[in-house]
Symmetry: C2
Amino acid sequence: MVNAMAISDAESVVMDVLWRKAPQSAEDVVAALAASTDWQEATIKTLLNRLLKKGVVSAERDGKRYLYRPLLKRAEYVHSESKTLLDRLFDGRVAPLVAHFSEQRKLSKKDLAELKKLIEELDHDA
Amino acid sequence: MVNAMAISDAESVVMDVLWRKAPQSAEDVVAALAASTDWQEATIKTLLNRLLKKGVVSAERDGKRYLYRPLLKRAEYVHSESKTLLDRLFDGRVAPLVAHFSEQRKLSKKDLAELKKLIEELDHDA
DNA sequence: CATTTGCAATTACAGGCGTAATCTAAATAT
DNA sequence: ATATTTAGATTACGCCTGTAATTGCAAATG
């Protein structure tokens, strides 16, 4: 068990919708996902319920339906996912990952420019 | 299905052993994992077999046993895992990941120094 | 040869995941 | 008041995973 309460891939797609905007009803979420997935309504409701059970979203009654909102913050999720990957593959550090991508020539101009700027700022800060 | 032929977490631990040294017999792999896991021999053999079935390791008879070696290269695996994560969480680019870690103040001195050097080299190269 | 032994192959089994269909209770319409 | 619609809750189901135990077979040994 790598993660105490892991969010599955499909579940994270639903979280993304709630991170973009909250609270939302199940129907809202279904509507938001209609374009990008071909999941049935029932599927999305299942995912919402599993997320509820995992304690990472809350549901507040609103008339006949519920309004869902994320309890887990996106930054937290992003961080734990990233850290898990860095730990597994890059000895827990960021630089080796960047090195890997540069070796594979998979750094875009944009990436390079941004990285350069970032590093300069950090350097200046420190 | 995100990955055509995904390697599970437990399986990747076995791959790690083979990436470090190949070929190795099942017994070698068991020995290598004795320190870091408490998996039974049978478990490790199951994992080897699943990896075989997935076509990411090969087995060559060596007397009564087999010698296993990875067919998938570590760099390929690392790349696909990293790319999947970057795509999911950072719009497919490296810089935002670095930015995230710097915002969370999770960049070590070492990371910073390495990144700086890397960027300089790349800049110089380009 | 017959038997033990060392490996690999097969089988097991519960829980999670992707993907829903169906059931039920509440609200609304007739 | 009853019928219908609607939304959530329950149930389903096959595949993957983690974690093995058991079986089968070939080689070594008595």
